[in-house]
């Protein structure tokens, strides 16, 4: 965008008294970035970073799906030799770690980075440079895992990396360290983004947007962000203690020296179970957004849904022991976790009832996003039902660590998060790219995904009951698992085809799809007020909100807030509960330091699996980049 040269610019030009076209041009200049590769590396625009995050996460989805296909080839028939045990163990470890840490959590946060500022009506995300840092760290962690895998030092101890198998005595070479340090990378990235989301939602909302009027997707991402902050430190303690056990001979997990192998499991699952909800709650937010728009009415029980999101987020922390029922815990302790695991069905049920009533009393219009929501109902509710089964200790003792559980969590995660995610991609794609995705390909995409998924994963319930344990690279001919496995593999390839179609549709539509305009679905939330794709400044005027679906409440024209600078990056800070305007605050400019800090952090993280001293000189290196990052600049104080 060229600089506005029409009028001499006063030092502090406000957005009052400017023609619309000029206002737009000047705001775009102020919030835009330098052209070229350097500008690309320096940008702190939440939309560019969010887009980058989404594309990267989808790339990891494709890689993770590719290795899953290899697993299904290997298991299609008994005693096959497509891959050997060593490679297979690396593959299932990398598949699980990749899908959880590099795809599912980041892709949800990516949508949050892109959409939350738009949905709450602000011009950039809070702590914008931290967002850039978060992306680079995430990218480094992901590349680290996959390069290790290609170099045959991919972790082979499962995505849960139980000690002692991953410990100093049994873990091979640096493989478990790669797993442990990949955790550190992705958790740093996730927590940084979580902090940004919380602050953006609490302090950057458009004036008038009360807590109860925040869109449900934003609420879901807020609850998720809090869960990230409380859950992720536990797994970082676990993975860092593991590295210490392996590198400098501490004995956190060594029973013969007073450590405990079970301690690792507690730490891991204290994170690991909330992790499931960290993936699923954003999915419910997407479902709420889609249902609202396509049933042409606000979600029934807006507050009830918010309460159930918060309740799910809290109860999610009281479930972790149901992953450990077979470890021989005392009855009373284990039973508590049965009750908690059963209880979490209640808020989830409440949400589903609210959605059904919304669709029932609305006038549903079926487009691809809503198709995927129907798929979500079919698959996720079934996964929820098997979830109630594994909450029961006796049933769990049979099906734990079998293909029944593999089926269960793929129903919950693919049904509860990936189906909504694909629906959400079809839904928000016009906002992000300015073009609609093809409905025809979308319908094909849905049916292939729906049929492929169920053919691939439903038989696994039965395989688990028939005694097939998880994480086996092959199985004998005399146990009766061959036909169901073959069926499952066929389904897996149909599912893979649906993803190929999905990616194809995105690539094609991004270039030749019909132009969307700002609000192609006639939706009610603020992101549809901005252009498609939004300009660097998101909104020409900061809107004033009076309703949970502002565009439906004020159909002719939205009230606006004025008085914000157009030639400095300035955002409006509002109060937490009522969103009354408090001050105008400076929002950071582009900077190269987040990238440099991320490079320094990457060097320190990777080196510290080889030498404990890297933690020392690595900290100094990171410190240097942080000095650059925080070097004092003449910056105006925030103003009332």
């Amino acid at each position: 965008m060229p600089p506005a040269t029409v009028m001499p610019r006063p030092a502090d030009q406000r957005d009052t008294g400017l023609e619309d076209a000029e206002l737009r041009e000047r705001l775009a200049y102020t919030w835009g970035r330098r052209p070229g590769i350097i500008g690309w590396l320096m940008t702190v625009d939440h939309k560019e970073i969010g887009r980058r995050y989404i594309v990267t996460a989808f790339a990891f989805l494709a890689l993770g799906g590719l290795v899953a296909a290899i697993m299904r080839l290997q298991l299609a028939r008994p005693e096959q030799h497509v891959v050997g045990p060593d490679l297979y163990n690396q593959i299932f470890t990398v598949h699980g770690s990749n899908m959880m840490f590099l795809f599912a959590v980041p892709v949800m946060q990516a949508f949050s980075i892109y959409l939350v500022p738009l949905m709450v009506g602000t011009r950039n995300i809070a702590f914008a440079r931290v967002g850039a840092f978060s992306y680079w760290i995430y990218l480094a962690g992901g590349v680290f895992l996959w390069v290790s895998f290609i170099l045959d030092i991919g972790p082979d101890v499962g995505w849960f990396a139980y000690v002692p198998l991953s410990g100093p005595q049994y873990g091979i070479g640096k493989r478990p360290d790669v797993w442990a340090q990949m955790i550190t990378f992705t958790e740093v990235a996730a927590m940084a983004t979580a902090v940004q989301t919380i602050v953006t939602v609490f302090k950057h909302r458009a004036p008038g947007m009360k807590l109860t009027e925040i869109p449900l997707f934003v609420w879901a991402m807020l609850v998720t962000a809090f869960m990230v902050i409380f859950a992720m430190p536990a797994v970082m303690v676990a993975s860092t203690s593991l590295i210490l056990d392996r590198l400098v001979g501490t004995h956190f997990f060594n029973p013969s020296e007073g450590g405990s192998a079970l301690l690792f499991q507690h730490l891991f699952w204290f994170f690991g179970h909330p992790e499931v909800y960290i993936i699923f709650i954003p999915g419910t937010g997407m479902v709420s957004a889609i249902i609202e728009t396509f049933s042409r009415r606000p979600v029934f029980g807006h507050v009830a849904v918010i309460i159930s999101l918060v309740a799910t987020g809290m109860l999610g922390f009281g479930l972790w022991v149901h992953h450990m029922f077979a470890t021989g815990l005392p009855e009373l302790g284990a039973s508590f976790f049965t009750i908690m695991s059963m209880t979490i069905a209640i808020p989830s049920g409440l949400q589903i009832f609210c959605w059904l009533v919304t669709l029932f009393t609305g006038t549903p219009v079926i487009r691809t996003p809503l198709l995927f929501v129907f798929g979500f109902f079919f698959i996720f509710v079934l996964g929820g039902m098997t979830g109630v089964m594994v909450a029961s200790i006796p049933i769990d003792l049979q099906v734990h660590d079998t293909y029944f559980v593999v089926a269960h969590f793929h129903y919950v995660l693919i049904g509860g998060a990936v189906f909504p995610l694909i629906g959400a991609t079809y839904y928000w794609f016009p906002k992000i790219t300015g073009r609609m995705m093809s409905e025809r390909l979308g319908t094909w995409n849905f049916w292939l995904a729906f049929i492929g998924f169920n053919v691939a994963f439903f038989p696994m319930h039965i395989l688990g009951i028939l005694g097939m344990p998880r994480r086996v690279y092959t199985y004998q001919t005399d146990v009766g698992w061959d036909r169901l496995n073959l069926l499952s593999s066929i389904g897996a390839f149909i599912l893979a085809a649906s993803f190929a179609l999905f990616f194809l549709n995105m690539l094609r539509s991004a270039r030749v799809g019909p132009l969307a305009g700002p609000n192609p679905w006639g939706a009610g939330t603020l992101e549809w007020l901005a252009d498609s794709p939004p300009g660097p400044h998101n909104f020409d005027h900061i809107p004033v909100v009076t309703h949970a679906t502002p565009l439906w409440a004020e159909r002719e024209s939205l009230p606006i807030a004025t008085g914000i600078s157009v030639n400095r990056r300035e955002i409006l800070i509002t109060t937490l509960a009522e969103a009354r305007p408090e001050i105008r605050e400076a929002s950071p400019d582009s900077s190269i330091w987040p990238l440099l800090a991320a490079i320094a952090t990457t060097i320190a993280f990777i080196a510290s699996i080889f030498s404990p001293w890297a933690a020392v000189w690595g900290s100094a290196l990171i410190g240097l980049t942080l000095i650059g990052w925080f070097w004092p600049k003449s910056m105006r104080e925030d103003e009332e």
Partner: protein
């Protein structure tokens, strides 16, 4: 009564057409039977709830419409709010009630599971990468014996197994008899088996334990009480002295080659503790933790190249001449 209800998983049997000796649905143990009844109850109740949700979705799909989108067709009015609240409220109450009932059922089913934990165990099961060491206890040392990968138990008598691990975490699971329980280094776990029908039941390690986790199987043989006594008596005895020439030569090879460093054959100088006890290896149905059925051919193949059969197994290949290999195989097969 419930377990006689139409078999939910019957069609799986039709699809697979093999014997299910490792199936939770083929319940032959007291614990497995309790769990299978509970599983069926849960499946039916939860399946009906799922169906109800699907019916609701189907009705919604029938009421769809196909207008173009516009900002102006969206409704904001709260008509029917009271009725909708009642619907959601009563569905929620029904959910709470269902969840409570299922929780109570689950608690009732778990009581026998935890009741006997304090009892002393008659068998020590020790997990190794990737095989099972089985030690039978007795009143005197002469009544104790060690075997591997095959556990015999008498039908109708509850038998408690203590579960230990020599290296990483394993999990003991014989679905037809009971749920699983982990073998964790530094922890004392145990499990009770009560077989109600004689038979051979297959089990497998259920906790990922490294390279050959897939090939860590074991058999539980539930014998009639007198057959069990006979088996136990035979196992307590030391290995028989080979009579034939080639078997005597095989015994000689076994103790003069590295075999004896890892394996014990009671009554001979072979006393290694690292690998499975082979005193009565000829009585077992399988070798290599349930990888191959025990035949002279498979045993010879295993000894000649264990890594060809089970890549990564801790047993090193031992170089033997053809006649040595045949002699050792004959010797071991004859250890009844």
């Amino acid at each position: 009564m419930i377990r006689r209800l139409p078999y939910v998983f019957a069609f799986a049997g039709v699809l697979s057409g093999c014997r299910h000796w490792q199936s939770a649905a083929n319940d032959a143990g007291a614990e497995a039977e309790r769990i299978w009844s509970l599983t069926l109850t849960f499946t039916i109740v939860l399946g009906l709830i799922w169906l109800a949700v699907m019916v609701a979705v189907a009705i919604i799909i029938r009421h769809r419409r196909r207008p173009p989108f516009s900002l102006h067709d969206a409704r904001l009015d709260g008509a029917g709010h009271r009725r909708n609240s009642w619907i959601v409220g009563s569905l929620l109450a029904a959910t709470v009630a269902t969840v409570a009932i299922l929780t109570v059922l689950s608690f009732m089913a778990q009581r026998p599971l935890f009741a006997g934990r304090a009892q002393t165990a008659g068998i020590r099961l020790i997990g190794h990468q990737w095989w099972w060491e089985v030690r039978y206890d007795g009143a005197t040392p002469s009544e104790m014996f060690t075997t591997a990968n095959e556990i015999h138990i008498p039908v109708g008598t509850p038998i408690r197994l203590s579960l230990e691990s020599a290296d990483v975490i394993h999990s003991f699971w014989v679905p037809s008899l009971a749920g699983k329980q982990d073998l964790i280094p530094g922890h004392n776990n145990s499990i009770e088996l009560l077989a109600q029908r004689p038979g051979v039941y297959r089990g497998q390690c259920a906790e990922f334990c490294g390279l050959q986790h897939a090939h860590m199987g074991l058999l539980i043989v539930a014998d009639a009480p007198d057959a069990f006594e006979k088996w136990q008596g035979a196992q307590r005895a030391a290995a028989s002295q080979p009579q034939e020439n080639d078997r005597a030569k095989g015994a000689q090879v076994f103790v003069s080659k590295p075999c004896a460093l890892c394996h014990t054959i009671r009554g001979t100088p072979a006393g290694g503790k690292f690998g499975p006890d082979l005193t009565h290896v000829g009585t077992r149905a399988y070798i290599g933790a349930d990888v191959l059925p025990l035949t002279p051919g498979s045993l010879a193949a295993w000894i000649a190249d264990p890594h060809g059969v089970k890549p990564g197994v801790k047993m090193p290949p031992v170089h033997l001449g053809a006649d040595e290999l045949n002699a050792v195989t004959a010797y071991l097969i004859g250890l009844k």
